[in-house]
Amino acid sequence: MVLLHVTDLNVSFDTDDGVVKAVRGISFDVDRGKTLGIVGESGSGKSVSTQTLAGLTRGARVSGSAQFDGLDLIKASPSQRRSVLGRKIGMIFQDPLTSLHPAYRVGAQIVETIRAHDRSISKRAARLRAIELLGMVGIPFPSERVDEFPHQFSGGMRQRVMIAMAMALDPTLLIADEPTTALDVTVQAQVLELMRKVQAEFGTAIILITHDLGVIADVADDVAVMYAGTIVERAPRDEIFYQPHHPYTEGLLDSMPGRVERGQPLRPVKGSPPSLIDLPPGCPFAPRCPYRFDRCDQEVPVLQTVFGDEQHQSACFLPTEIEERKALREQLVEKGGIR
């Protein structure tokens, strides 16, 4: 069951140096109760696309459509979008230290979310609901800590408060924009485990945006890999890690330190991401792609089904049969082309 259906989303900004095309026509679906991991490096447009869905990007030119529960988020009026945000869609952000209002008590901020959408709930009832939520996300002694200020919580605890606030009205979709990047490894594990527990208990669909492939492997069901403003590959988690089709996904996995014995040098993706103002013709990854051939420079590749599995799509002209693709991979490794 598809909860969110995004088709051809485009987002661009006017700057002094020209028009920055941050998102160039991406389409993806999010199923109910499932987690879609969006992975990409900085400047790939992963944050901009989800924040545009929630109408949080200012001064941008947006086109395309995003069907969510019968409402097109892109074309929705501000009041329509506001009725959905916080109630049906919960959001948590990267830096827990600055995402909570410093001058309001934690409980009051959760009560505000509840009463913003449902005036009928009394302040007392909303406060009890807030205490219940804080307990659910694992904050010790919630009935006392509900009246404390954000600065009395540590980084990990604040992220739990953000999750409690996002889950206040039992949304069907939770958008998490790099939720664990600012946290330490041990605290990161706690937050990821909490998100898994929340999904299991409430069946909330999650869009998880991160640059860390480890987090994707940990939590995501489906994965979308973004590069230079477009989705270059989309597939269930295991296929992305064990049978990648697009050279960029393959390059990302190769460059991970864990993939090579200690003495050997790593296998990086050479060059650096293109500028989003004047993109090279053809495939944006062509300049850095080890399999590059002439068609890559002329035509812009489009997402197409590969390996015979319509769940697995890739925007690349390389052969779509598994054996041929694997053969090309072997040649590349022998030639040491990846060096």
Binding site: E41, V185, E193, A217, G251, P268
Partner: protein, 362 residues
């Protein structure tokens, strides 16, 4: 690859930062950033220093290079005791130990040209190499993979990866013996990270460099280091060759750290036993008594609360021995998640016995 000759050794190094007034608590308020740390770095080796934020690894690095004054302990570099050298005596040594920094945008002066930034060391210590300063700088830019024609550009025109290369070129200018890399790749994307790590390894081979590599990313440290030291709240809790520490870690914190690290391999991630540590890093202003890890340690016992453990040799000898600072170190095959703490006041314990102590934390 690394000879057995020790380039830098520190014994019992401590660093405290003063906080608060003499009128406040009798001037006794202190932040113990580094507490009684001893380690050795062999010539040509890469020692990895890993730990979460706030564990004191950056402070230790700045103590070893004498950017900070040291409160206790001694540091010897290349056979000389540099613990209490004044700024003048340290000057010649500065060219022999250099630092590379984390933030590509913060470590380069935005208002100066790249060429003059890289040439700083030559300007300060006098140009000892052949050719004019400009030629040497352009040669350095070539070595680290930058286009020499960009000599007169400003840092704003370069990407994150290129800026780190400028930082490396600056550190390389006087061919130092030791380079301390403070989280050099943490701010970079994975694909660019790999390029910089390869560059660092090639430079190490070519110029016979010794690295102290600091990071909170275990997989990067595992790849690049020969030996590794794990820090928690200002102390080294475990150290030793990378193979032994990663496969047979014996300190509960190292074991938990290894298990918490997300691996980009779904099947492997599912098989390993997940140990999720409860609680947060305690504030360094007043570290817990006894073993500093006892409030979060799954196998904490009564003596952990009172006795302060010291770094003891577990296996092997000399610099390459595996050392651990724990009264009840784990055996290789023991599974940490099977333990439950036997003392009441650990955070895990505190949940069960909902004593009033929580109120204290308000």
């Amino acid at each position: 690859m690394s000879s057995d000759e020790v380039l830098l050794s520190a014994s019992g190094v401590s660093k405290r930062f003063n906080v608060g007034s003499r009128g406040l608590l009798g001037g006794r308020l202190q932040l113990s950033a580094v507490d009684n740390v001893s380690l050795e770095i062999k010539k040509g080796e890469t020692l990895g220093l890993v730990g979460e934020s706030g564990c004191g690894k950056s402070s230790l690095a700045r103590c070893l290079t004498r950017l900070y004054d040291v409160d206790e302990g001694t540091i010897t570099f290349d056979g000389r005791d540099i613990t209490n050298l004044g700024r003048r005596q340290m000057q010649p040594l500065r060219s022999e130990m250099q630092m590379i920094f984390q933030d590509p945008y913060g470590s380069l002066n935005p208002r100066r040209r790249v060429g003059s930034i890289i040439g700083d060391a030559l300007a300060i210590h006098g140009n000892r190499g052949k050719g004019t300063r400009r030629q040497q700088v352009q040669e350095l830019m070539e070595i680290v993979g930058l286009n020499p024609e960009h000599y007169n550009r400003y840092p704003a025109d370069f990407s994150g990866g290129q800026r780190q290369r400028i930082g490396i070129a600056r550190a390389l200018a006087l061919k130092p013996k030791l380079i301390v890399c403070d989280e050099p790749v943490s701010a970079l994307d994975v694909s660019i990270q790999a390029q910089v790590i390869n560059l660092l390894q090639d430079l190490q081979r070519e110029f016979d460099l010794t690295y102290l590599f600091i990071s909170h990313d275990l997989s990067v440290v595992q790849h690049i280091s020969d030996r590794i030291a794990v820090m928690y709240l200002g102390r080294i809790v475990e150290s030793g060759p990378v193979e032994e520490v990663f496969t047979a870690s014996s300190h509960p914190y190292t074991r938990a750290l290894l298990s918490a690290k997300p691996i980009a391999d779904p099947r492997a991630a599912e098989q390993r036993d997940r140990i999720v540590l409860a609680g947060d890093l305690p504030s360094p202003i007043s570290p817990p008594s006894g073993c500093r890890f006892h409030p979060r340690c799954p196998k904490a016992e009564q003596d952990c609360v009172t006795v302060v453990p010291t770094l003891e040799i577990l296996r092997g000898a000399g610099p390459d021995a595996q050392r651990v600072e724990c009264l009840h170190p784990l055996e290789a095959d023991q599974d940490l998640s099977s333990f439950t703490p036997s003392i009441a006041d650990t955070i895990i314990g505190a949940d069960a016995a909902a004593t009033g102590s929580r109120e204290v934390a308000s």
